[in-house]
């Protein structure tokens, strides 16, 4: 995939739930690469995960900062807030409605 961005999740119990949350937030064009000890979740140019989706799959009160303990690496650039994390590349021609705020 060209201009792939997104998290690389390490082996842990929550991987499936995080992947499902990311799928909820990015219904189209998501690619998942499973290499055993790590799982790449990626999309072209822009990918987002919200606290709302994570809470749905991992339980109410999930703090975004907890995602750090699951994420060994990521492709692209990152921007974090209390409500969402986005991965992006500036030069990847991201639609304006998807640009990181």
């Amino acid at each position: 995939m060209e201009n792939a961005v997104g998290p690389v999740l390490r082996m842990c119990d929550e991987v499936e739930s995080v992947v499902r949350a990311i799928q909820d937030d990015n219904p189209a064009d998501l690619e998942i690469v499973d290499r055993g000890a790590y799982v790449r979740v990626q999309r072209q140019g822009f990918l987002r995960v919200t606290r709302g989706s994570l809470e749905r799959h991992l339980g109410a009160g999930f703090q975004m900062s907890r995602l750090e303990s699951i994420m060994s690496a990521f492709a692209g650039r990152i921007r974090t807030s209390s409500d969402e994390i986005v991965w992006y590349l500036q030069g990847a021609g991201i639609p304006s409605e998807e640009r990181p705020r």
Binding site: S69, S72, I78
Partner: protein, 605 residues
């Protein structure tokens, strides 16, 4: 009570800059430490971290990570998993523990310096957390290795390695000193968090974790992938620093990235390449080293660098060509000089493994097949002495790795070349044009003497191979040997070629009968298609026939198949007459010669 969101208060509490009144700004943030360069002082107020975290969040998340890592360790400590791990795989872990544990401590120093001298308050804040991270990584690596010390003393090198002058450590220490502690903190932020942690450490800590898990080393896989979650955060100090540098001094930014990318790639070729393509048991290899490099470095990291406006490094084609070469040569060197390392290198060239190598690396058989074939003949003949070295490889003055890089020639053949540089009446040698250029530009940062130079300066006594092993701290209980006790060679019981033979031994010391005015001089020499250049001592009175024999001694019958043909010495690209002496030809100390079997027409090399 509902807590305020972090973004509602973090800008206020992390802005701990104030206008200094008791001291000058230059005194508090001196240029040689803070590295402002062409960036206006006020521009630093725009520095903003993209990966935000508060201290309470940090403590909470880190506690969770530690609990998870130690829970797995505690559970597995009672199991018999360790005894069932493959010896080749254990070498991956031993290389990691020795090569990485105290590099993590050096990284702590780098983070602490950024926490003190970084010119933006949010940066200093992130670096404090980064420093705490690196202490954690150092402690984890030492603690996880310590469990196995009573079972295998090679694990003791997790703590010991960086306190020795082992050649692999000299190479790693030279890189990490230049990357983490020798430069100002702006250079450090580009070199360590950006190039090394956003790029290369992913390969060792995440890529290798997949091989570890497949090999059954759950504990190791869990530990290294936990470490990398910290790196993913604190590596983000690099981005905003790079943005400022790209705006105000893009030439400096490009140079720092290019330089550190190359030097990191060189060291990873010996740290990670053999682990992935030779030590990890064949059935458990997830991808080849080249494929992991393509995934993590070419696909992921370079694309991000381009997003910041950087160009691909000027040496891109050489780097790509090196993905098929560097780590195979270095692996061959590590295996042949196996007594000089603290792990047991797995040769990794059984027939099945060789098929895999040829599938992943189509040029492998042409370049490395004949060399391994000669080694296999020697192993199967029981001529183990011919599988061990008696001198040292010539080491590169920039990356401190042996001169063993094959590059393609216009005739399609791959050859190992030397890239010398005369400076202040001293000849330096490099494995590549790129190492030579980096050294020339930044020679004030890269001035560690190679092991070979230390030997020639008399710093290593006795000045023979036993003295070298002693100097490197290798004791018989620790020094490496073949991981499987050479059982893999049984695959090739049918002779591959003529029985092992070896030229008459000739001492590298002065011989009896040499005229008293003759001097012994060290030269950098390579024989034929052998993969590496050696330090060979010749006498100024030696004829070229004698010089050829001295050079052949370290290659022919060991890694080069013997042939019943005369040998020719080439110096400065031309064949030299057999009866001319070293002094007549004008070969001086530290100069490079090439020796090969004579062909029908003697051309220059």
């Amino acid at each position: 009570m509902a807590l305020m969101k972090r973004e509602e208060w973090q800008d206020l509490v992390r802005d701990v800059d104030w206008t200094l009144s008791y001291a000058d700004d230059d005194a508090v943030f001196p240029e040689w430490q803070s590295g402002n360069g062409k960036i206006p002082r006020e521009a630093w107020s725009a520095w903003e971290e993209s990966y935000k975290i508060s201290y309470p969040e940090y403590v909470s998340v880190q506690a969770e990570k530690e609990a998870a890592a130690f829970a797995v360790k505690a559970a597995l400590q009672r199991s018999t998993i360790f005894s069932s791990l493959d010896e080749g795989w254990k070498s991956c872990a031993k290389v990691h523990f020795g090569g990485v544990s105290l590099a993590e401590y050096t990284a702590f120093m780098a983070e602490a310096r950024m926490a003190r001298f970084g010119l933006a308050a949010p940066w200093r804040n992130m670096a404090v957390l980064g420093a705490l991270d690196e202490i954690r990584h150092c402690q984890l690596s030492l603690f996880f290795a310590h469990e196995f010390v009573s079972k295998d003393p090679q694990y003791d090198w997790a703590l010991k390695a960086f306190h020795t002058n082992d050649w692999a450590i000299v190479s790693a220490r030279s890189l990490f000193d230049a990357m983490m502690v020798a430069g100002n903190v702006v250079d450090t932020a580009i070199q360590l968090p950006l190039v090394f942690e956003t790029g290369f450490t992913n390969l060792q800590f995440v890529g290798l974790a997949s091989d570890a898990l497949a090999s059954g080393d759950i504990n190791f896989a869990n530990m290294i992938s936990s470490v990398q979650t910290d790196e993913a955060r604190h590596a983000q100090q690099g981005g905003p620093t790079l943005e400022l540098l790209m705006k105000h001094d893009p030439v400096r930014a490009q140079w720092i990235v290019d330089k550190m990318f190359w030097l990191s790639a060189r060291v990873f070729a010996v740290l990670t390449g053999p682990a992935m393509d030779y030590y990890t048991p064949l059935d458990h290899r997830k991808q080849s080293y080249k494929e992991f490099m393509e995934e993590w470095i070419i696909g992921q990291f370079i694309r991000t660098l381009q997003d910041y406006g950087l160009k691909k490094p000027w040496y891109w084609e050489e780097f790509i060509e090196g993905l098929d070469i560097w780590h195979h040569s270095l692996h061959l060197g590590v295996w042949f000089w196996r007594q000089t390392v603290w792990w047991k290198p797995q040769a990794g060239v059984s027939k099945a493994e060789r098929n895999w190598l040829n599938m992943k690396y189509p040029k492998w058989e042409e370049i490395y097949g004949p060399i391994w074939d000669q080694i296999i003949v020697n192993v199967n003949c029981g001529n183990m002495q011919a599988t061990l070295p008696e001198t040292v490889p010539w080491l590169c003055n920039a990356c401190h790795l042996p001169l063993c890089t094959y590059t393609s020639s216009p005739d399609g053949k791959y050859r190992v070349r030397d890239f010398p540089l005369m400076h202040n009446n001293y000849t330096y040698h490099f494995c590549s044009k790129v190492c030579r250029q980096i050294w020339w530009e930044d020679r004030d940062m890269l001035h560690v003497k190679t092991i070979g130079e230390r030997l020639l300066a008399g710093e290593i006594q006795p000045d023979d191979f036993s003295g070298i092993l002693q100097y490197m701290g290798l004791t018989p209980d620790v020094m490496g040997d073949d991981a499987y006790g050479y059982k893999w060679a049984a695959d090739y019981r049918e002779p591959l070629g003529p029985k092992s033979s070896h030229p008459r031994p000739n001492s590298t010391r002065r011989r009896e009968g040499v005229p008293s005015e003759a001097l012994s001089i060290p030269i950098n020499a390579k024989f034929g298609d052998d993969f590496v250049m050696h330090l060979v001592v010749v006498n100024t009175s030696d004829t070229m026939t004698e010089v050829a024999q001295r050079v052949a001694y370290h290659s022919v019958g060991k890694r080069v198949r013997p042939q019943d043909r005369a040998m020719v010495v080439y110096y400065e690209g031309r064949a030299v007459a057999d009866d001319e002496s070293v002094s007549q030809v004008g070969i001086g100390p530290f100069q490079q010669i090439f020796v090969d079997y004579a062909s029908d027409s003697r051309g220059g090399r």
